[in-house]
């Protein structure tokens, strides 16, 4: 078995082991109801961390608007589930909800990718932030209702929907969608995480994944090697958005009132995911899953830590970047580390 194959199996193993541990704890009554409530959010944050790491670590482009794609996945799937709640049984409804949430997030990832991926570095990052905010703001201004005549839309307010008396408001502007069926649970969250990992890890270890990383490392050389740079950037960005959409589906089917608020979908939320990715290791998919789970659970468990949580994260973020990327620190590390190696070599001789 090759090393990458073994590494990937270890990653799946860790996720499955964590699932079993939590299930055992829960079955033996060792899990508080507060803790149980954290399990599904933990999975969708891990899923979106995988998505963002595909974009930042593998494609090499910083997105600070990924929660926008999560938002699209959340709203489109919640809309579908709410409309069909009476008509369809749970299992097929939730499966279709996933397909819809993922498809819409992928579609928007593709459409937004066309302009965004023509840019580079800082500009690209700020435009992803812009799109994330645009998505959030537009959804906040959306009103959709349904009555016997079908669907009604408005961008102004609920009155403008002009519905019959039997009408029901589904998307109520900034008040969002209320009463989406609670279809998400921990097992489904873990399944979605495993599928996301499977897709991303397989992709990395394939012809397309290598091309994506080649574009990241040197797009000029990639073009000269016949690699269609735009195609591979779009591919990675769209897949990343689709996975973020899946996280959104888990999110919206785990919450009573879904609103496009800054807390969940603003750029600050996207930056929070970026913190998971950076602390888990840029380009290290397993690392971002572990970082997302630990960083999400830890402050919730140690309440005292919550006050200082963001402060600590920000300091760790800065220190990590300097330690890992500063040319001077890297040189210093090489010198010190190199000397140590030489020394141990001599001792062995």
């Amino acid at each position: 078995m090759s090393k990458t194959k073994r590494d990937n199996l270890i990653t799946y193993g860790i996720v499955i082991l964590a699932f079993i541990i939590f299930q055992v704890l829960s079955a033996t009554g060792n899990l508080s109801s507060h803790m149980k409530g954290l399990l599904v959010p933990m999975t969708y944050y891990a899923v979106i961390a995988v998505a963002l790491n595909l974009c930042v670590g593998i494609l090499g482009e910083l997105s600070i608007g990924h929660c926008g794609f999560m938002c699209i996945g959340a709203f489109t799937s919640a809309f579908f589930s709410k409309v069909t709640e009476e008509v369809l049984p749970t299992a097929p409804r939730f499966i279709i909800a996933f397909i819809i949430g993922i498809a819409f997030a992928a579609l928007f990832g593709f459409l937004i990718g066309i302009p965004v991926l023509r840019l580079k570095g800082d500009y690209l990052a700020i435009v992803t932030l812009a799109f994330g905010e645009i998505i959030k703001n537009v959804i906040n201004a959306f009103y959709i209702g349904v009555d016997s005549h079908g669907l009604h839309f408005s961008m102004k307010n609920a009155m403008e929907l002009n519905m019959e008396a039997d009408g029901q408001i589904i998307v109520n502007g900034a008040m969002g969608i209320t009463g989406t069926p609670h279809d998400s649970n921990f097992a489904i969250g873990i399944a979605v995480l495993l599928i996301s990992l499977f897709v991303v890890l397989n992709l990395i270890n394939s012809r397309d994944g290598r091309a994506i990383m080649a574009v990241r490392d040197n797009y000029i050389a990639a073009e000269a090697s016949g690699i269609n740079v735009t195609r591979y950037k779009m591919m990675a960005f769209t897949i990343s958005a689709a996975i973020a959409g899946a996280a959104g589906v888990l999110f919206s089917h785990n919450i009573t009132t879904l609103t496009a608020s800054s807390q969940y979908f603003g750029y600050n939320a996207s930056i929070m995911i970026l913190v998971y990715v950076v602390l888990g290791g840029i380009g290290n998919i397993r690392g971002s899953v572990i970082a997302a789970c630990i960083l999400y659970l830890l402050p919730e468990l140690l309440r005292g830590l919550n006050t200082y949580r963001m402060l600590i994260y920000s300091i760790v973020l800065i220190v990590m970047m300097i330690v890992n990327w500063s040319p001077k620190v890297i040189e210093w590390r090489k010198r010190t580390f190199g000397n140590l190696l030489k020394k141990s070599g001599k001792e062995m001789a």
């Binding site: 897709v199 397989n202 992709l203 270890n205 394939s206 012809r207 397309d208 994944g209 290598r210 091309a211 990383m213 080649a214 990241r216 490392d217 040197n218 000029i220 050389a221 990639a222 073009e223 000269a224 090697s225 016949g226 690699i227 269609n228 740079v229 591919m235 897949i239 380009g283």
Partner: protein
């Protein structure tokens, strides 16, 4: 018919004519040198040949096919591969993965097969692995196949860049100052590598070079550029004896 035929190629940048009325004919199997003082427009010619710049005038034909206004990717697919003056490897990929990227337009499978590792994934990956190893062996890099490209010593990075270019199965290989930054030993080894590429792959090569020793040692024909224009063209010996060339290089 010549493998590469360039007629009246010209390009200007903001009124400055970087390359003008450039003509070149390379026969299949030739090792051709493009030399000239700094700023003569040598790299600009390469960038025109590989579609990085679009010429203002002129025609470029590869094996009879007009590739004049094609983009870099199409030109690579048409059969021109290149290396860069300042080595451009995929630094965070392993040595063998660098070559596999070069192979990935030749040995293909779908995105669906990539994501789910189904269908022809296994067979094609195996084929790619074997082909990449075969190439690495030629360049004596198979011992380092799993280390990161950025951790290779300089001379081997240059070799890997050539190996990657060869992986795209080109008709014509362009080498942009391959000996830049090399010590005499490395240069000697490079000359052997270039000779090897010709022998092993029956390759046609166009190279830009400053190092006169390297040029006179291996190139059969030369074109000398000065101020964006062809100063002299022909057999290596004759060109190097031309008083105009000596003047351009050494000065009055």
């Amino acid at each position: 018919m010549a493998l590469l035929e360039v007629n009246n190629l010209s390009i200007s940048f903001g009124g400055l004519r970087a390359v003008g009325d450039f003509n070149l004919k390379i026969e299949k199997g030739e090792l051709y040198g493009l030399i000239g003082p700094n700023g003569a427009g040598k790299t600009t010619v390469f960038n025109l040949l590989t579609g990085v710049y679009k010429p203002d005038e002129g025609i470029i034909k590869l094996d009879g096919q007009d590739i004049t206004r094609k983009n870099t990717i199409e030109i690579n697919h048409a059969g021109i591969a290149r290396t860069f003056q300042n080595i451009r490897l995929f630094k965070q990929l392993s040595v063998i993965d660098n070559v596999k990227v070069g192979l990935s337009e030749r040995i293909k499978y779908s995105l669906f097969e990539s994501v789910f590792h189904l269908g022809s994934y296994k067979a094609k990956e195996k084929e790619m692995e074997e082909e990449a190893l075969r190439l690495l062996k030629v360049f004596d890099l198979d011992g380092e196949k799993d280390i990161l490209a950025s951790n290779l010593p300089y001379g081997k990075q240059r070799k890997l860049e050539i190996a990657r270019a060869m992986a795209t199965n080109p008709k014509l290989l362009l080498l942009d100052e391959p000996a830049a930054g090399m010590n005499p030993n490395e240069t000697k080894e490079l000359m052997e590598t270039i000779a090897l590429v010709r022998r092993e792959f029956d390759m046609t090569i166009l190279l830009i070079e400053h190092d006169m020793k390297l040029v006179s040692g291996i190139c059969e024909k030369l074109t000398v550029l000065n101020f964006g224009r062809v100063l002299c063209q022909g057999e290596t010996k004759e060109v190097l004896a031309d008083p105009e060339v000596i003047k351009a290089y050494i000065g009055d």
